[in-house]
């Protein structure tokens, strides 16, 4: 591809070389004390779909190591967000859940969806704790499934323990 050619074509070993991910990794921004901590560099780069209200700050550049406090109390371990240049897209997603170690992730998606709605019914619609569940189920579940479940919830026919 044209974009990989800089001043010289990288050798095969350079191509395969993985950069060490020793940079402090970012915690998921939808954690409760999000914006104050995470926002080190405000990026105003326009991005149609990537910019959300709470995660306007992209992954923080490595030189500034913010408090990478691990507040996700569940199985969330560190997520790979370390990126050299700040970008409007944050590279993070639902982490690997030890409750669902196998290839079949159907239950994982379903469980995250239910967890989100249980959180919302317990804490209210705009609780920031529930945001991370919503991100998880949106990452994992196909849009059609989510739409169908939303419809079922409205009709009262949702087959899950909400």
């Amino acid at each position: 591809m044209a974009e990989s050619v800089s001043s010289q074509t990288p050798s095969l070993s350079e191509q395969y070389h993985l950069e060490k991910e020793v940079k402090p990794v970012e915690v998921a921004p939808e954690v409760t004390t999000t914006q104050a901590e995470e926002v080190e560099t405000k990026e105003d780069s326009p991005s149609e779909e990537a910019v959300e209200d709470k995660s306007e700050s992209p992954e923080v550049p490595s030189e500034e190591a913010p408090a990478a406090a691990e507040e996700n109390n569940e199985e969330n371990t560190t997520e790979e967000v370390a990126e050299e240049t700040p970008d409007e897209i944050k590279l993070e997603t639902a982490p690997a859940d030890f409750r669902f170690p196998t290839t079949n992730q159907t239950r994982h998606c379903f469980t995250r969806y239910i967890e989100y709605h249980r959180c919302v019914s317990a804490k209210g619609d705009d609780a920031p704790e529930c945001d991370k569940f919503s991100k998880f189920y949106r990452s994992l579940c196909p849009g059609e499934w989510v739409d169908r479940w939303n419809e079922q919830r409205e009709n009262g026919t949702f087959p899950g323990p909400l």
């Binding site: 779909e49 409007e88 897209i89 989510v146």
Partner: protein, 260 residues
């Protein structure tokens, strides 16, 4: 001045099926490299056994002649050879099984949390890709269909039955999770260079974790019979440098031409 490394410019990795191809495509992920290495390990023992068996067979046929060897031997027991011919195949089986199981279990191990999740949803007869890590409400941030480019619309240099209009753009050297499912009938999402083949079953989400180690464009095809155009639902994965990934995804709504 002739620099040795310029020779590499003439070598392009094989990331798509070639006519009359005999071996595997070039590996782009550790999984595929492991598969290729395992293949080489097993092939060594295979050649040993093949030569040995052929030698004995041909030798027996050659010497089985009513005049040359009129009296055949009639041996029915032989403790030593029976022990040896039990032990050696067991050893060979063990030497094959050890790397095989090592690869099998390491393929399933999820060592690092993935950085992004991409959903590949099979339809008759195209793929839909969803990148939903970035949206804050239930509408998807990025969903697009990926249809094969028909032969009459191909440009010069493109591959027949392999090119698509919208490619899956992924960042290289990044751990990804790909969730494969189907909206109608079973399909299978396969990219040989990445060592990936994952069935797309309706009602089920299958997860695969890959780490593409080099930039490039990788081709694959649907691998589960799904109807009339099963042969015409290819998959194209484009691995871009990680820092370019963000802008590529943002621009994804602009339709890509055949060759970026």
């Amino acid at each position: 001045m002739i620099v040795l490394k310029w020779l590499f410019l003439t070598i392009s990795p094989c990331d798509a099926a070639e006519p009359w191809q005999l071996g595997s495509q070039d590996a782009a992920t550790p999984i595929m490299q492991g598969i290729i290495d395992l293949h080489h390990d097993i092939f060594f023992f295979l050649i040993l056994i093949l030569v040995f068996v052929l030698w004995i067979l041909v030798r027996a046929l050659w010497h089985f002649h009513y005049k040359e060897n009129a009296i055949p031997q009639r041996i029915v027991h032989g403790t030593t050879i029976e022990i040896l011919r039990t032990i050696f195949p067991s050893l060979i089986s063990m030497f094959i099984a050890i790397p095989s199981f090592a690869l099998l279990y390491s393929m399933d191990e999820v060592v690092v949390d993935p950085a992004i999740t991409i959903k590949a949803i099979g339809h008759q007869w195209y793929w839909t890709y969803e990148y939903s890590d970035y949206n804050s409400s239930d509408e998807q941030s990025l969903t697009f269909d990926s249809y094969m480019i028909p032969e009459e619309d191909l440009e010069l240099g493109q591959s027949r039955l392999l090119e698509v209009d919208n490619r899956v753009v992924i960042p290289a050297k990044t751990h990804l999770r790909i969730i494969v499912t189907s909206a109608d009938v079973p399909h299978s999402w396969a990219v040989p260079s990445s060592g990936v083949k994952c069935d797309a079953v309706p009602g089920r989400l299958n997860q695969i974790s890959i780490l593409v180690q080099r930039e490039g464009v990788y081709y694959g095809q649907c691998s589960e019979i799904c109807g009339t155009n099963h042969a015409f639902t290819p998959i194209v994965v484009e691995a871009v440098p990680r820092k370019d990934y963000g802008s590529r995804v943002s621009n994804q709504l602009i339709p890509q031409t055949g060759e970026a």
